[in-house]
């Protein structure tokens, strides 16, 4: 039990010290030239308190969708990569050969690549 608690405790302490240390260092030795803009909470360059029906650039939307392609890819590839060579992983659990699982993952990657190539050809990555 101690072996489990001790590293976690150590991690919590280190994290707390790091956070407090950075804030303290900033407030102690940092220059203090405050303006109205700098006083605002940071929210990706947007006004943090505004009308909910505000417009924003449609290019953000495209970037978000393109991001999703890779995000979903990682979401699936990571567990597969970990389980694939693990002796107690996919092959052992459900009796599928590694080759079949590999082929299935490749089908998934190819389908995502289709989306990627399509977005690329349609000019999603050009910040016009």
């Amino acid at each position: 039990m101690e072996t489990l608690v001790l590293p976690v405790l150590l991690f919590v302490v280190c994290a707390a010290m790091l956070a407090i240390g950075m804030l303290a260092a900033g407030s102690l030795i940092g220059p203090k030239r405050n303006t109205a803009v700098k006083e605002m909470p940071y929210e990706s360059g947007m006004d943090p308190a505004h009308d909910a029906r505000r417009r924003f650039d449609v290019r953000f939307h495209l970037v978000a969708i393109a991001f999703l392609i890779f995000d979903v890819e990682v979401l699936f590839l990571y567990p597969w990569a970990v389980a694939n060579t693990n002796p107690a992983g996919l092959a052992a659990q459900v009796g599928l050969s590694q080759l079949v699982v590999f082929c299935e993952v490749m089908v998934f990657v190819v389908l995502l690549t289709v989306g990627f190539v399509y977005a690329w050809r349609k000019g999603v990555f050009q910040w016009r």
Partner: protein, 544 residues
């Protein structure tokens, strides 16, 4: 349960469709050429139809109507005919819609339709809750994209958003129902074979062994699943999106909405609720009867004073969902111990007949419009018979078929449905409430058919007996005209030779429901009896 080489072999048509759709997306981004890609995708459907008919040609005999289960798939005759029909629907959509979308987006339209058809084909044979849900989403998601591609204006965007949110809500309800079903049964396989656990067997055991919790959860699962699928087929408490969405979107997309989700929803209801949940049939038939009567009546009565054609067709599609629910309630009642059957077969036959006539109607509307302007008002059709006699005649055929006028397909559809309800009523004459309910159902159906005739005939009267007000462009393209011809041939063919189609749908019913031949031929008294030779050619003996 797990996929093996055999399953992959059985999935070739879907795999071809998805691979070719991906190819059209990518290559179409390099070389957007409307005619080339339309021909290419028609060729793909041709190859898929060839593969489909080639690999499963043995289906055409009663002995092998149910082949078996492979992985998450159930290979039976019901799935086979619906897969063939899905390919046909894909070809028709391709013909109808290719002209409509803007030139740059044609390849996107074609590829998205292809994915939708792949989804329809998967729904037709899904034997697993997860596959069923995924394939229903494979229909919904392309539908959102297609709705958006149809036109670029406020009304279309509003319709798309409305459909998107309500469809997501219905998917949520459906998924929630599936989770209850999984909780009751403890398996995701819908109908098992020897030694394979299924929802049907596992849950029946639990429910009968008395677990009060299971007995309490069965209606919840049924109602949630019915609600989720009710959105797809636009049954009444869940119908309110249909008129607005149909009116807002383009004619081709309205045709898509009237057919694709309806096929998927009806098949999912048959596979999931009727066949796999016989232990919930006592609530099922009551629920289906109430929904059927409400859906028919509200759909038909509201359609009476519509002046927008797409809105009219939306209410018409709601009403037809009500007719199909008659067959579904009969099929539910079959599990409740009535010896009469025929519900599933009648529903399927009606579904095919409705889809042909409805697609044909929208194909005519597309053919009457042009890229710039769409036909939408009922008054725009005035005097059409003088200007475009062929298209007017085609539209009249579809309207008569939807209304159920005798020599056309719609009549046989209604006849099989109503007679299945009447047969259930007579077969259960000893159980008074049962018989009364199904007699009421048949009477309500017949009354509704009379109401419906009023607004279908109004369209015909407008075309033939009113002076022309203006000239319609009638520049919808060759594809839409070809689709009109195909639909006319189907509606007339099914109307003049209903015997083959009725037999095919009864064979499909026999493949999913455990029917003994005696009760089937008794139930289908006015219908041809189920025989081994499906391609029986003695149509003369089919007494009209």
């Amino acid at each position: 349960m797990f996929v093996d080489a055999e399953t992959i072999r059985l999935l070739w048509p879907e795999i071809i469709l998805i691979a070719m759709a991906s190819w059209i997306y990518i290559a179409g981004a390099f070389q957007p050429h409307r005619v080339w890609w339309t021909c290419f995708s028609l060729a793909v459907y041709g190859v898929v139809a060839y593969v489909l008919l080639g690999t499963e040609s043995t289906m055409w005999s009663a002995e092998t109507a149910l082949v078996g289960i492979s992985g998450p798939l159930r290979i039976d005759f019901l799935g086979f005919i619906l897969r063939c029909f899905a390919v046909l629907v894909g070809i028709l959509f391709t013909l109808i819609g290719a002209r409509g979308s803007s030139r740059q987006l044609t390849s996107e339209f074609l590829a998205t339709v292809m994915l939708l058809v792949a989804g329809l084909m998967l729904v037709a044979r899904a034997n697993d809750m997860v596959l069923l849900f995924v394939s229903l989403e494979m229909i919904s998601i392309p539908t959102y994209v297609l709705l958006y591609l149809g036109r670029r204006d406020r009304a279309n965007s509003e319709a798309t958003i409305k459909y998107f949110f309500l469809s997501i809500l219905s998917s949520g309800l459906f998924l929630y129902g599936l989770s209850f079903l999984y909780g009751i049964a403890g398996t995701t396989t819908l109908v098992g074979m020897m030694g394979q656990e299924s929802v049907q067997a596992a849950a029946a055991g639990f429910v009968q062994e008395g677990g009060e919790l299971y007995q309490a959860m069965a209606p919840i699962a049924l109602v949630l699943l019915m609600a989720g699928l009710g959105f797809k087929i636009a049954a009444v408490p869940f119908h309110f999106y249909a008129p607005d969405v149909y009116q807002g979107c383009s004619n081709a997309n309205a045709g898509l909405l009237a057919v694709a989700p309806k096929i998927a929803g009806v098949v999912a209801i048959l596979r999931l609720l009727v066949v796999a949940m016989p232990w919930a049939a006592d609530i099922g038939w009551q629920l289906a009867i109430v929904l059927a009567v409400l859906t028919m009546t509200i759909g038909n009565v509201c359609a009476l004073w519509q002046t927008n054609l797409r809105r009219l067709m939306a209410y018409s599609s709601i009403a037809h969902a009500g007719y199909m629910l008659i067959g579904i309630s009969v099929a539910f009642a079959f599990h409740e111990g009535t010896s009469a059957s025929g519900g599933i077969g009648a529903t399927l036959f009606y579904l095919l007949v409705y889809a042909c006539a409805s697609l044909g109607t929208f194909a005519v509307l597309v053919a009457l419009g042009s890229k710039e302007s769409e036909v939408s008002g009922l008054n725009e059709l005035a005097g059409l018979a003088g200007q475009r006699p062929a298209l007017a005649a085609a539209l009249a055929v579809f309207m008569f078929s939807l209304a159920g006028i005798p020599p056309l397909a719609g009549f046989w559809g209604k006849l099989t449905l109503f007679s299945s309800a009447v047969n259930t009523a007579t077969a259960t004459a000893d159980n008074a409430s049962f018989a009364a309910w199904f007699t009421l159902l048949a009477v309500a159906g017949a009354l509704n058919a009379a109401i419906a005739a009023a607004y279908y005939l109004r369209v015909v009267a407008k075309m033939y007996f009113r002076p022309a007000q203006g000239d319609l462009p009638a520049n919808g393209g060759l594809g839409a005209q070809a689709a009109v011809v195909v639909c006319v041939v189907l509606v007339l063919g099914l109307g003049l030779f209903p015997r083959i189609a009725v037999q095919v749908t009864h064979l499909a019913e026999a493949a999913v429901a455990p029917v003994d031949p005696g009760s089937l031929s008794a139930a289908a008294a006015p219908l041809p009896r189920l025989a081994g030779d499906v391609q029986g050619s003695d149509d003369a003996s089919w007494d009209r």
